[in-house]
């Protein structure tokens, strides 16, 4: 009867269950698809899945922070595109060195994120509206700056190596995992550390749990919120660099819909849209679930339009499972 004050029970229940569920779902999919088709569990196909996850995964990392604050960022997709375009401007148009171009891409994303955060916390525009506005602004700017045409990186072959080269292949011959995947894993580790070990992470949770209480505790709520959106923007910028490098071009018309994939990954991973809880590991699993599903269904020759329908069903199922868990508490 005195169980209300013992911590052990609750730890297991609240955080781990959804992750276990999501992870279990991922494993189950692997098994089902492997049994259904011999082409699924092949090295080249697994690499394909990893590569397909990299961009969406990086966007979802940033979105995780925003969603834990009980906010939303609809602009990550088009900000990614804008960052890709700006990377193209720096490297191809202006002929700047590749590292500087990459930096420029990241800063473009961070800058857009900072504007999101400022509009939300200073102008008090709800995150949904503020980032919806940024979605259009970034989309429009991408088209204006690029002159509606793709920007190619043909003069700088090293740029393509950022995503498509393979450090692991150089070390272990034949083990060719594209750098894009390694960058995603690296970014996930950084995101995990920021979320769990730093002040920024702590305030991310605090804001989502009870913003008013955080404000009354003397925390500069506006500044930290700007920081969170800036971080999400920086991840979108990284996504832009990866996708530009992978395609060896900045495609100004790309990017719409990426924000929804990112949000879906976060939600499947057990981060609550009402804020206060969430994990990076969950988001990584969520991102993989989406690409495994897409890949597996394609191997089974399910038409692409049906893949989209099924993804939608998975999102709803995942959140329903989470809701059931919460209700039981």
């Amino acid at each position: 009867m005195e169980t209300t004050t013992t911590p052990k029970k609750s730890f297991v229940r609240s955080d781990a269950t959804q992750k276990l569920l999501a992870f279990g779902g991922l494993i189950a999919m692997f098994i089902v698809f492997s049994l259904a088709s011999p082409n699924f569990f092949q090295f080249s196909n697994i690499v394909g899945i990893l590569l397909a996850t990299a961009v969406n995964g990086v966007l979802a990392l940033g979105a995780t922070f925003v969603i834990i604050t009980a906010g939303i960022d609809l602009s990550v997709g088009t900000v990614m595109t804008l960052s890709a375009v700006m990377t193209g401007v720096f490297i191809t148009f202006l002929g700047l060195p590749v590292p500087i171009g990459v930096m420029g891409g990241l800063l473009t994303g961070a800058f857009a994120g900072a504007i999101n955060g400022t509009v939300i916390s200073k102008m008090r525009i709800p995150p949904f509206i503020a980032t919806l506005g940024m979605l259009y602004i970034a989309k429009g700017l991408s088209l204006v700056i690029s002159g509606l045409k793709p920007i190619y990186f043909n003069d700088t072959p090293s740029f393509n190596q950022i995503a498509m080269g393979s450090v692991t292949g150089a070390i272990i011959p034949g083990f060719d995992i594209p750098n894009a995947v390694l960058i995603f894993f690296g970014a996930a580790i950084v995101a995990h550390i920021i979320l769990t070990k730093t002040v920024l992470g702590r305030y991310t949770f605090a804001l989502g749990s009870n913003e008013e209480a955080t404000r009354l505790s003397g925390v500069n709520v506006a500044a930290w919120k700007i920081a969170v959106y800036t971080l999400a923007g920086a991840f979108a910028g990284l996504g832009g660099v990866i996708i530009a490098s992978r395609l060896n071009s900045a495609q100004p018309a790309l990017g719409a819909g990426y924000e929804l994939d990112a949000i879906a990954a976060v939600v499947i991973g057990g981060t609550s849209l009402s804020g206060g809880e969430g994990t990076i590991l969950g988001t990584v699993i969520g991102a993989f679930i989406i690409s495994v599903l897409t890949n597996g269904l394609r191997i089974l020759s399910v038409p692409q339009e049906w893949q989209i329908v099924i993804t939608g069903g998975i999102v709803i199922l995942a959140v329903y499972a989470d809701t059931l868990r919460r209700r039981r508490q």
């Binding site: 004050t5 730890f11 949770f205 749990s209 009870n210 008013e212 003397g218």
Partner: protein, 517 residues
């Protein structure tokens, strides 16, 4: 000569429609416990929120150690050494105890960006040791009882090493031993020279702990008195100012009225545990308890707003399934939320529409047209019958006072032909004068044969109004008293009876264990 730590003079504050503070003053010396008392809506909390930087004052000045200060944010207050423990809990439920206490002041390591979680927990442990509080700093706040959460709030305020500590109803959810611990701690702080503002309704407590008492009433400063030389009766008369509760309830002569509502073994999650009771025709049944006792949850479950896990609800002896508020209304049950602005009224619409809102079916003519003549007639009828003070029934409800808004809600449910009315804190936020009118209305309704459940956190209100009192604690009914035996002490004893095996009688005690297995 100026020994005052804090001096507030000529403080004025208006909210839309309310003059919350009218030229108020307050002073606090170092090393004193200064109680601030007054009825709900007297302006105590508003006054202290201005001192704590949460509200901006419209006029007046604040002197801190003789210097005029401008306290425009909570941070500014904290920097001066002023902390406030809020009445409504202000915690981040997803974070741990330690993380809550030191939010904004986390110990860092390295370049200042890294959290030092170990040190954070150590600091919290040291703090708890000083407070003689047994609590694991690593526990999540959401897993704590309300009383423990309150202690976390107090620990947080104390952790600022504040020179001024404002406590707004700190003991509302605490048990006797916890209160004693808190008082010992307050005495220690006082000896250390901390000035403590203590807002409370419990006057016996003030006698124990405070040095001076300031009384406020209706947004005005009334008087400041030394506690030792002041009788409780005197304080009460200053607080109330005028006789407001003229009519004591008229108890029903015959007690064998028909049972209208019977609830058996109602369970819902952690908040409602094995609740059983009966409600008779013409009866006002008072539900007493501390914050988080589960009274509102019981009401919401009966009303169908929350789904029950198990249990049975009988109306006139007939088992009914209530799974939504719609079912409840069809069965003649109304729930009047404590937050009537959010859940009870369409604020932007007029009195007439609000009164007709729950029963538009009655006013529909051919093709679904609303029969305006009929709604007008009904609205006029209830405006007269309930003495709703409004220029016309076309007046928007948001322009009415709290008491009249409450009457509109009552009118709405009477129009819907309800026979069971559940009032949740019926006089919260209603000014003192209008309270007696609401009380009279409740009495009239009971006499007309309505069955009434009244949830209230104010014991005097429970004692004044109820025919029978049920006390709850942590989701269980811990006691039931006929009004003749009900005293504040008896109710409080039940209301703080933790982990109680339900009522005195063995039957429900046994079944509660089954319910929890």
């Amino acid at each position: 000569m100026d020994e005052n730590l804090v001096l507030m003079k000529g403080i004025d504050k208006r909210f839309p429609g309310v003059h919350a503070l009218d030229h108020c003053q307050f002073e606090l010396r170092a090393g004193e416990v200064h109680a601030l008392v007054g009825e709900n809506g007297a302006g105590k909390s508003t006054m202290m929120k201005i001192l704590a930087g949460i509200y901006a004052k419209d006029a007046g000045e604040i002197l801190y150690r003789g210097q005029e200060v401008d306290i425009h944010t909570p941070k500014a207050a904290q920097d001066l050494g002023i902390s406030m423990i809020h009445q409504e809990l202000n915690l981040m439920n997803h974070l741990t105890v330690a993380q809550n206490i030191f939010v904004g002041r986390e110990p860092r390591k390295g370049v200042g960006f890294w959290l030092d979680e170990k040190k954070l927990n150590e600091q919290t442990e040291q703090l708890f040791e000083r407070m003689h509080l047994k609590l694991d700093p690593r526990m999540k706040v959401t897993d704590l009882t309300v009383a423990k959460q309150q202690m976390v709030e107090i620990a947080k305020a104390l952790s600022f090493n504040s020179e001024v500590l404002i406590m707004d109803e700190p003991t509302a959810a605490l048990t006797e031993t916890e209160i004693e611990d808190l008082f010992n701690f307050i005495r220690k702080l006082r000896a250390d020279g901390v000035g403590i503002v203590y807002i409370s309704h419990r006057l016996e407590e003030l006698k124990q702990i405070s040095d001076r008492i300031t009384v406020m009433r209706d947004g005005r400063y009334i008087d400041t008195l030394p506690t030792a030389e002041t009788a409780i009766d005197k304080i009460i008369s200053l607080m109330v100012g005028r006789t407001i509760y003229e009519s004591a309830p008229e108890l029903p002569e015959d007690t064998d009225q028909e049972i209208v509502l019977e609830v058996k073994n109602l369970n819902r999650g952690k908040t409602v545990k094995d609740v059983s009771f009966q409600l008779r025709r013409g009866e006002i049944l008072g539900f007493a308890g501390l914050m988080g006792a589960g009274r509102t949850e019981v009401a919401r479950t009966i009303f169908g707003a929350d789904r029950l896990d198990s249990g049975e609800i009988y109306l006139h002896g007939r088992l009914v399934q209530i799974t939504s508020p719609r079912d409840a209304v069809k069965n003649g049950i109304a729930y009047l939320s404590e937050d009537r602005k959010r859940y009870g009224l369409a604020l932007g619409m007029d009195v007439e529409t609000n009164i007709a809102l729950a029963s538009f079916n009655k006013f529909l003519g051919a093709l679904g047209w609303v029969n305006n003549a009929k709604t007008r007639e009904t609205a006029n009828h209830y405006t007269d019958a309930l003495a709703i003070k409004t220029p016309s029934i076309q007046q928007r409800v948001k322009n009415l006072s709290g008491g009249n808004q409450q009457k509109v809600v009552i009118g709405k449910w009477l129009t819907a032909d309800t026979e069971i009315l559940i009032f949740d804190e019926p006089t919260r936020g209603i000014d003192v004068g209008a309270k007696s009118e609401i009380y009279k209305l409740l009495n009239d309704l009971a006499q007309q044969g309505k069955a009434i459940i009244m949830i209230s956190s104010e014991l005097p209100e429970i004692l004044r109004m109820s025919h029978r009192v049920i006390a709850m604690c942590e989701g269980r009914i811990t006691g039931e008293l006929p009004i003749a035996e009900a005293t504040q002490e008896a109710i409080m004893k039940f209301a703080t009876q933790r982990n109680g095996t339900s009522r005195d009688n063995g039957r429900s005690a046994a079944s509660s264990q089954v319910g929890n297995a």
